[in-house]
């Protein structure tokens, strides 16, 4: 079948370069997970609603399930694996830990990347903005209040 023809793509992920051969229909999320071995990006719905697969593409939060790997050549991609600096957690990770912002942890990478991307561009969001942004993603365990608390704390820490 013709759609099984693979093409070569070079992806820049977390400051590293990955050369992979993928079908044009292969999603970015599957490519990150299966071809780059970056399984921290999770798939919860594969149609862009739940946000578990949120990563940063050129600094913007995007759904990796709604993009194809072949679209991403030349972009700077950033996944949850890149947040911590060695053993030192990123302020957003630290805040989720301190505020019990996760339970099963499956949606967590998506929330971390969504918030990290947002806070980098909007370091001092008000409560309504923050709620609006966080309503992009689904969590089934926490009831969200500790996620909100975590992101508020991270914003404070990141502002310094």
């Amino acid at each position: 079948m013709s759609e099984r023809t693979k093409v070569e793509v070079t992806l820049a992920v977390n400051g590293r370069s990955y050369r992979v051969r993928v079908e044009p229909r292969r999603t970015l999320a599957d490519t990150l997970r299966d071809d780059c071995g970056l399984t921290g990006t999770h798939l919860g719905c594969e149609h862009g609603v739940c946000g578990a697969c949120t990563i940063l593409a050129d600094g913007q939060p995007v759904r990796a399930c709604l993009m194809f790997a072949v679209q991403c050549e030349g972009m700077e991609l950033r996944t949850v694996e890149d947040l911590a600096d060695g053993d030192r957690l990123h302020p957003i990770q630290q805040a989720f830990w301190e505020n019990h912002g996760l339970q099963c942890g499956f949606c967590t990478p998506g929330f971390l990347m969504l918030s990290a991307g947002y806070l980098e561009q909007n370091p001092d969001p008000d409560e309504d903005e923050l709620r609006a942004v966080l309503s992009s993603n689904l969590c089934r365990c926490t009831g969200y209040q500790n996620i909100l608390k975590s992101v508020r704390q991270a914003a404070e820490v990141m502002r310094g």
Partner: protein, 756 residues
């Protein structure tokens, strides 16, 4: 320092925060094949020829199997069975003669790539002669199959209803919704000739039971099957039960001698994983003018879907036994009809039978109060089980145990909650807002939960020569914080820092027996077993250290892994790692090793209780219900980690709001599901959530376990439906018209339009 009772940060979070967790879809094995399930596109039909030739011809497709390839595999058996003679309603792993719901597995494709497996699955053509589906078993008449009727009764109903001054009768229904964890299901199985075992990753909730079931279905000795639980993306009752796909993955791994990997997509999950709730109740109460309820008769129908799955009639059983909740009704009868339909089969979902029955009971209380012109809190108070009757035996059974409420002061608890709410002021404020034109209301629901279902669980605690402690438990972790809680209990009892404790769970070759994570049982059962095991290890350590320190073991104590004479921390001491070294085989006359097992048995459940209060604002034009406040007062006996308990409650509350306002597995008249994606099945986002206020009480410890704990996994959800329904009724000023959940915009607009 005492860890138990303090909100220590979770020890399991780091891999989850850094993207290094191992959920089942994160695992792969060399030369694996990918399984794709071909599912029935129709709700009911006779299965004719299945044409697999085109799919089989595709490059990379290794096998396509249908019913003919799995004839020897029995249907999936009941894990919990309460009624005999229901074997014929079990689900086969692949449809045999009929398909009975949209999404039923009809064939599987095994291919070298997951995209290819999906391509090939689209080329499998199942001939189906369509038959009329049963979509609403209550309306279907004799077409609908009633599998059984579960009945519980006590007291003299004739006397109760005979000359009752008032009889209140209602029909109330709860819609079809479910757990819908963020991680879909998955499994990875392979046969390992080196150890002669079939190993399956992706287990959850009840690994030990499923190991036995898989071994039995595939004709393997128990020791030839190992199940592994990794990180699990939410459970809520539905995840981890044995489903057809788990068995098919194992069967294919055995037959083909290659690893088989299956990861469910979201649409499949919505069609194939257990649904829940979906009950219609007709309830009658005989009442006196002061609100005292003499007796209740309830008749209800459960739309169980196409098959009875692993829980058999557990939800119906729990509904009948838990419906009376906190009230001391002298006479009661409930009859639950377990009906089949051509919809996805149902199982348990967080607070099974209690979410439904609490909605029914607490709506009934509200309507009784309205009819009698009383405040509903007063009707509640009049009927509560008084503290002097604790432990309170109702005279019926629940899940094979006598239903005996272990401890509690229900009236005192109601007072505490009303005080927290500042009830009089609150109702006055709401009345004033209503006068100003706002449709606002307050609703409450009082409930009794159950927890700590036995009969046993075990833990092994081992201290190695570096002083590191390993806790191995037979329960499972579905993301609720098991590791941290057990580590807290172990660290306190043993006298070590929590940093040196690791917890391993869900590996069937670690411990011979394990019950699993359900029924809010983990902290009660495994927490208690941890306490017992750690206590034994401590004793063993003290005895071995006593010889080294030339002291009496009873004079010694352990702090942060250091054994010394109590009161002389600066005196001679020995570290636990060193004690372990002295217990090597050959160096000790007793059992070698610094380790012990602890087993905790329980034949009665512990019953936590709570009150939910919701304050809502209704927009009559859009039908939107905004939850302004949600208060959950909950008595848990003792909170090992209050922050984690609060997290359980807030998360449960969110799911409860989903079931009350948004979530609905609707079907059209041909049995086609109308909510098979997240676009149609609406779950709460942060935009729908208030900050849940938790009033956590630890005043009625359970006498049934050494920690005094009562389970906290489910009480966050139990009365949310009841409280929001009562609040909407209050806001709209029509106490009798709110009879059905979910209260979606359409339904709310209709009620609002029809109010006086």
């Amino acid at each position: 320092m005492s860890y138990v009772g303090s909100s220590v940060k979770r020890i399991e979070d780091r891999p989850l925060l850094t993207g290094r967790a191992r959920f089942v879809a994160d695992l792969s094995l060399p030369y694996q094949l990918h399984m794709r399930v071909v599912r029935s596109p129709v709700a009911h039909g006779r299965l004719l020829e299945i044409d697999t030739s085109e799919a089989r011809a595709m490059d990379g497709v290794e096998a396509v199997w249908t019913r003919d390839d799995v004839r020897e595999v029995p249907p999936i058996d009941y894990r919990m069975a309460w009624v005999e003679g229901l074997e014929r309603f079990r689900q086969p792993v692949l449809a045999a003669d009929h398909v009975r719901y949209v999404g039923e597995p009809v064939a599987i494709v095994l291919a070298t790539d997951s995209y290819l497996a999906e391509d090939a699955a689209e080329l499998v053509f199942a001939g189906i002669e369509e038959l009329d589906p049963v979509v609403d078993p209550l309306a279907a008449g004799p077409e609908a199959i009633e599998t059984t009727v579960v009945e519980k009764a006590y007291g003299d109903l004739e006397e109760a209803f005979g000359d009752a001054p008032v009889v209140v009768e209602m029909e109330l229904a709860v819609g079809r919704h479910s757990g819908v964890p963020m991680e879909t299901r998955g499994a990875l199985a392979h046969y390992d000739p080196m150890r002669s075992v079939l190993e399956m990753f992706g287990a959850a909730k009840v690994p030990h039971h499923n190991r036995a079931a898989i071994a039995s279905m595939l004709g393997l000795p128990l020791g030839a099957v190992v199940l592994r639980e990794g990180h699990v993306g939410g459970g809520f009752g539905i995840r981890g039960e044995l489903y057809p796909e788990d068995v098919l993955v194992c069967l294919a791994a055995l037959r083909l001698g290659r690893p088989i990997r299956w990861v469910e997509d979201r649409r499949e999950h919505m069609l194939a994983a257990n649904h829940s709730r979906d009950q219609v109740h007709r309830i009658r109460a005989a009442v006196e003018a002061d609100g005292w309820i003499r007796g209740v008769i309830d008749e209800f129908w459960v739309d169980q879907g196409a098959y009875l799955r692993t829980h058999q009639v557990t939800v119906t059983e729990l509904t009948t036994s838990m419906l009376p909740g906190p009230y001391a009704w002298p006479a009661y009868r409930s009859r639950g009809h377990v009906m089949l339909s051509n919809k996805t089969p149902c199982g348990t979902y967080r607070a099974p039978g209690r979410y439904e029955s609490t909605f029914v009971r607490e709506r009934l209380i509200e309507v009784i109060a309205h009819r009698l012109g009383l405040d509903s809190s007063e009707v509640r108070r009049r009927n509560l089980v008084p503290p002097e009757r604790m432990p309170y035996e109702r005279g019926i059974a629940a899940l094979g145990t006598e239903l005996t409420y272990d401890s509690g002061d229900y009236p005192g608890f109601l007072d505490r909650t009303l005080e927290y709410l500042d009830y009089e002021q609150l109702t006055t404020d709401l009345a004033r807002r209503r006068v100003d034109g706002e449709l606002v209301g307050l609703g409450m629901g009082f409930f009794v939960e159950k927890s700590g279902l036995g009969p046993f669980d075990g833990v092994r605690v081992t201290v190695d020569e570096a002083g590191e402690v390993l806790v191995i438990t037979g329960v499972a972790s579905i993301g609720q914080g098991v590791e941290t809680v057990l580590a807290q209990v172990c660290a306190d009892e043993l006298g070590v820092g929590i940093d040196s404790v690791r917890v391993r769970h869900g590996q069937t070759d670690d411990l011979a027996y394990g019950m699993g994570a359900f029924a809010s049982r983990v902290t009660v059962m495994s927490g208690s077993a941890t306490l017992i095991a750690a206590r034994r290890v401590r004793r063993k350590a003290l005895e071995a250290a006593a010889a080294a320190l030339e002291a009496d073991p009873d004079d010694l104590t352990i702090e942060r892994g250091r054994v010394f004479v109590r009161g002389s921390p600066a005196g001679p001491a020995i570290m636990l790692g060193e004690v372990a070294r002295r217990l090597r085989p050959g160096l000790t006359s007793g059992e070698p090793g610094l380790a012990a097992e602890g087993w905790f048995e329980a034949h009665h459940m512990a019953y936590p209780y709570g009150i939910h209060a919701a304050i809502v604002r209704v927009d009559p034009d859009s039908g939107r219900v905004e939850v302004e406040r949600l208060v959950v007062a909950y008595e848990v006996g003792k909170a090992v980690n209050p922050e984690l308990v609060n997290g359980q409650i807030a998360g449960g509350a969110a799911q409860g709001i989903g079931g009350a306002l948004l979530e609905d597995f609707a079907y059209d008249e041909s049995g086609q599901p109308l909510a098979a994606t997240f676009m149609d099945y609406l779950m709460p986002t942060i935009a729908e959530m208030p900050d849940v206020e938790v009033l956590l009480l630890e005043e009625a410890p359970s006498p049934l376990n050494p920690l005094g704990v009562k389970g906290a996994g489910e009480g966050g959800i139990t009365a949310v439906g009841a409280a929001i329904a009562n609040a909407v009724a209050d806001a709209l000023g029509c106490p009798e018209k709110v009879t059905r959940l979910p209260l979606g915009p359409e339904r709310v607009r209709r009620i609002a339009a029809g109010r006086a």
